[in-house]
């Protein structure tokens, strides 16, 4: 047990901090952060050169080529956060498609697609979920048949984050309709401005829109834009999902939110009393603090396991459930603290922080639901973490398909 960093890492932290400080002038401004902005792309190249993003991607594909070192990755992330420095581009191309290609793509695919993805020339979105296939993803029905040497896609995707800002998409489609459920799926990728692809923003309850519905009507995709074999898309996608689950949120995020709330409690008053002096709110604050502290050190425990290449088992499985719930509770507390001011929203007089707490209160509920609902998380924890039986399959109206 040692919370201090060794000299190597302390030095590394200093190096990153120094970089952040001295490169501030090259950093894109708030209106230059689009992936296609030249200043943004130059910044991205600079970060790759220093190994502050795309750090472990091999050099020949446009990355920095370092050995994986989760502690250094964490140090980079923390130093960028604390110095308010803009980090590397993030989209599902970089976080999911690139790792998938590295694992299962052909050499040609890697050479062709990874570098421009890392550099922001291509921005990707992910087409997995469908209106009737959410928790039960493998039941997806978007189809592709082959015609004139092309895949021809018909169907609909939903929850496609960022599709409106992406030029590329990777996607699961059913190419072998007669095969068993999990064996008829292929993993294709293609340009989003193909004829026959219609992207529509799907606003959420916060009023913002980051999701899309994507409709396919005879959209054509070259036969070589597939990762893995035809019918093997479920396995390819699970390799990718593994990477998604591999991403840990910032374990200090809840603590940072609470610090903001504590500041607010010192500033805001109710009937002339500072909120920080209200014993009931103090009690609720300290409850959340304790839980945030537990999650923070839980994050360090997972980080350590990751450094030591140990499998943390159940400990990793609980992070989404507990983390999202805690964030939701924190936002809920902030709204309650503000009372009537807490329901103000958008650009409006007296609103605090543009209604960010109300936004979080709703958005965090979306996160509780998205990426595996709380109920699915509890299934996973009990089944994979505690060894309890899987949900029985019952009441199938169709003859059973071997899964």
């Amino acid at each position: 047990m040692d919370l201090k960093l060794s000299k190597e890492y302390e030095d590394f932290r200093q190096e990153v901090r120094d970089f952040c400080e001295k490169s501030k002038d090259q950093m894109p401004g708030p209106r230059e952060i689009g992936a296609s902005d030249p200043k943004r792309q130059a910044w991205q190249k600079l970060l790759i050169e220093h190994g502050y993003t795309a750090r472990t991607i091999p050099k020949e594909y446009g990355g920095y080529g370092a050995e994986p070192d989760v502690l250094k990755s964490r140090i980079i992330s923390e130093a960028f956060t604390e110095t308010k420095t803009l980090g590397g581009l993030s989209n599902q191309g970089i976080s999911m498609f690139v790792p998938t290609l590295l694992e299962l793509g052909t050499e040609e695919q890697k050479k062709r697609w990874i570098k421009p993805t890392l550099e922001g020339t291509h921005v990707w979105c992910q087409g997995y979920s469908e209106p009737n296939s959410g928790s039960d993803l493998a039941s997806l029905q978007t189809k592709a048949h082959v015609e004139d040497g092309m895949f021809v896609i018909n169907g609909q995707k939903i929850w496609t984050s960022g599709a409106h800002e992406s030029d590329m998409m990777f996607c699961l489609v059913r190419t072998e309709p007669d095969a068993p459920k999990h064996k008829g799926i292929s993993y294709l990728f293609f340009e989003t401005d193909n004829p026959g692809i219609d992207r529509r923003l799907l606003p959420n309850m916060t009023g913002a829109a980051s999701f899309n519905e994507v409709f396919f009507t005879d959209a054509k995709v070259p036969m070589d834009q597939i990762v893995g074999e035809r019918g093997d898309g479920w396995n390819v996608c699970n390799a990718t999902l593994k990477h998604e689950r591999g991403m840990l949120g910032d374990p200090n995020a809840a603590g940072t939110r609470l610090k903001t709330i504590i500041d607010m409690m010192h500033e805001e008053t109710l009937d002339g009393q500072r909120l920080i002096d209200n014993p009931v709110y103090r009690d609720r604050l300290v409850q959340l603090q304790a839980e945030a502290t537990a999650m923070q050190y839980h994050g360090l425990r997972l980080l350590t396991a990751s450094i030591k290449k140990e499998n943390p088992g159940l400990s990793r499985l609980i992070v989404k459930l507990q983390g999202c719930e805690l964030n939701h509770q924190i936002a809920s507390f902030a709204v309650d603290l503000l009372g009537e001011l807490g329901v103000l929203y958008g650009q409006t007089p007296l609103v605090r922080n543009n209604g960010t707490w109300q936004f979080s209160y709703m958005y965090d509920l979306g996160l509780i639901i998205g990426g595996g609902t709380a109920q699915i998380q509890k299934n996973i924890i009990s089944e994979h973490g505690l060894g309890m039986p899987r949900e029985p399959k019952v009441g199938q109206p169709k003859p059973a398909i071997p899964a």
């Binding site: 979920s129 209106p131 009737n132 296939s133 959410g134 928790s135 039960d136 039941s139 939903i158 929850w159 799907l202 606003p203 959420n204 309850m205 999701f211 805001e268 008053t269 109710l270 009937d271 002339g272 209200n278 009931v280 709110y281 709204v335 309650d336 503000l338 009372g339 009537e340 001011l341 807490g342 329901v343 103000l344 929203y345 958008g346 650009q347 409006t348 007089p349 007296l350 609103v351 209604g355 109300q358 209160y361 709703m362 509920l365 979306g366 509780i368 639901i369 998205g370 609902t373 709380a374 109920q375 509890k378 299934n379 949900e391 399959k393 019952v394 009441g395 199938q396 109206p397 169709k398």
Partner: protein, 361 residues
């Protein structure tokens, strides 16, 4: 002894509910919420024709002279259908205030106008439930000064009842000199709120019987009962929507309503909310029949139903999954309505502190 709704009350609820079911559709709510005014004139007029504005107005003034329970049942239907209309402040609190403290003349002038919808009264008294930013309204030489945040139903108001820092009540014209009304945007675009700034604003006092703030307290208690009723209706609808959706939506070849996790979420919502009907009935009934219990009962109803409503809003959204988080089904209008009501006229923590003070000093 009979603790249930009368046949007339059930009919009233059915008729208001039936009307709102037909007009306060998701499309209508969406249209109103994205428009400039947090109010559908069409629905307001339709409800006015049904007479809902005059429920609490005494018969001698041409009203129906009914009880707060009747008004609460109407408000419950308004919440149930997330109807974008002013009611709580205008037909509820304002009429209670005028009944309690208005002069004969004030009643004579305003009651008929409220009944026909010609007058719409906003209420500025949120400081009485806890002042933010040290806001307050003071009376000096017959005029009002200061400010009141989060005044209710400001958007369409023709007049306001304003509560000063000593609990005195005052009628102020919406177009009075020295009155500045600033609209505030909230998560819930089906009701309007705003900030009122007074600088030497002429005001007409409600009669002096009101010296100790008793009328203000009664208005506040009525407002809390009505806010609770609104949440009750909205939460009830969210449960029904969740159950209905769970019986349609399939995953893994099963309707999701056959999963125990989903069933239990629905059961927890229903088990929590069902006794809230009785709590609301009691609180509303007490306002008329058991005055010594009415204030505490209104606090219990408002705080408890807010908590249960919040739980239902969350769980219903969860049962709906991703689609519940979008704007597609419009479920979020109910979610936000419950969130708005929760903070209105005092959040649960503030109200519980008040309730403790009332009982234990």
């Amino acid at each position: 002894m009979e603790f249930c709704l009368s046949e007339e009350q059930k009919l009233l609820q059915d008729s208001v509910g039936g009307y709102l079911a037909s007009v306060s559709t998701v499309e209508k709510i969406r249209e109103t919420a994205t428009g400039d005014e947090a109010m559908s004139k069409e629905i307001f007029d339709g409800l006015t024709e049904l007479g809902v504005n005059s429920v609490l107005i005494p018969e001698e003034h041409g009203g129906m002279g009914m009880s707060l329970l009747d008004a609460a049942l109407i408000q419950e239907m308004i919440g149930r259908h997330a109807a974008p209309v002013p009611y709580l402040a205008n037909a509820g609190m304002a009429v209670v205030g005028l009944n309690e403290a208005g002069t004969a003349e004030q009643k004579e002038v305003l009651f008929p106008k409220i009944a026909t919808g010609e007058a719409r009264i906003g209420i500025a008294m949120s400081e009485r439930t806890g002042a933010r930013e040290d806001a307050k309204v003071t009376l000096e030489g017959g005029t009002l000064n200061g400010r009141s945040l989060f005044a209710l139903d400001t958007g369409s108001a023709t007049d306001f009842i304003v509560c000063d820092n000593e609990g005195g009540l005052h009628l102020v014209k919406a177009d009075a000199a020295g009155l500045e009304i600033t609209a505030m945007g909230t998560i819930d675009n089906t009701r309007s709120v705003g900030e009122l700034k007074f600088s030497g604003t002429p005001a007409q006092p409600l009669s002096s019987e009101n010296e100790k703030g008793l009328a203000a307290s009664k208005m506040l208690a009525a407002g809390r009962v009505l806010a609770a009723a609104d949440t009750l209706g909205a939460a009830q609808m969210m449960i029904e929507k969740a159950v209905a959706y769970s019986l349609e939506r399939k995953q893994f070849n099963r309707i999701i309503g056959s999963y125990q996790a989903v069933k239990h979420m629905c059961a927890e919502m229903a088990a929590g909310l069902d006794p809230c009907h009785s709590l609301l009935w009691y609180a509303a009934y007490a306002a008329d029949a058991i005055p010594e219990e009415a204030e505490l009962a209104s606090m219990h109803a408002k705080s408890h139903i807010s908590e249960i409503g919040t739980m239902c809003a969350r769980k219903s959204t969860e049962v709906h999954g991703g689609i519940g988080f979008t704007e597609v089904l419009g479920l979020h209008f109910w979610f936000k309505r419950i969130g708005f009501n929760r903070q209105l006229l005092g959040g649960p923590t503030s109200i519980r502190a008040e309730a403790a003070k009332l009982q234990f000093g």
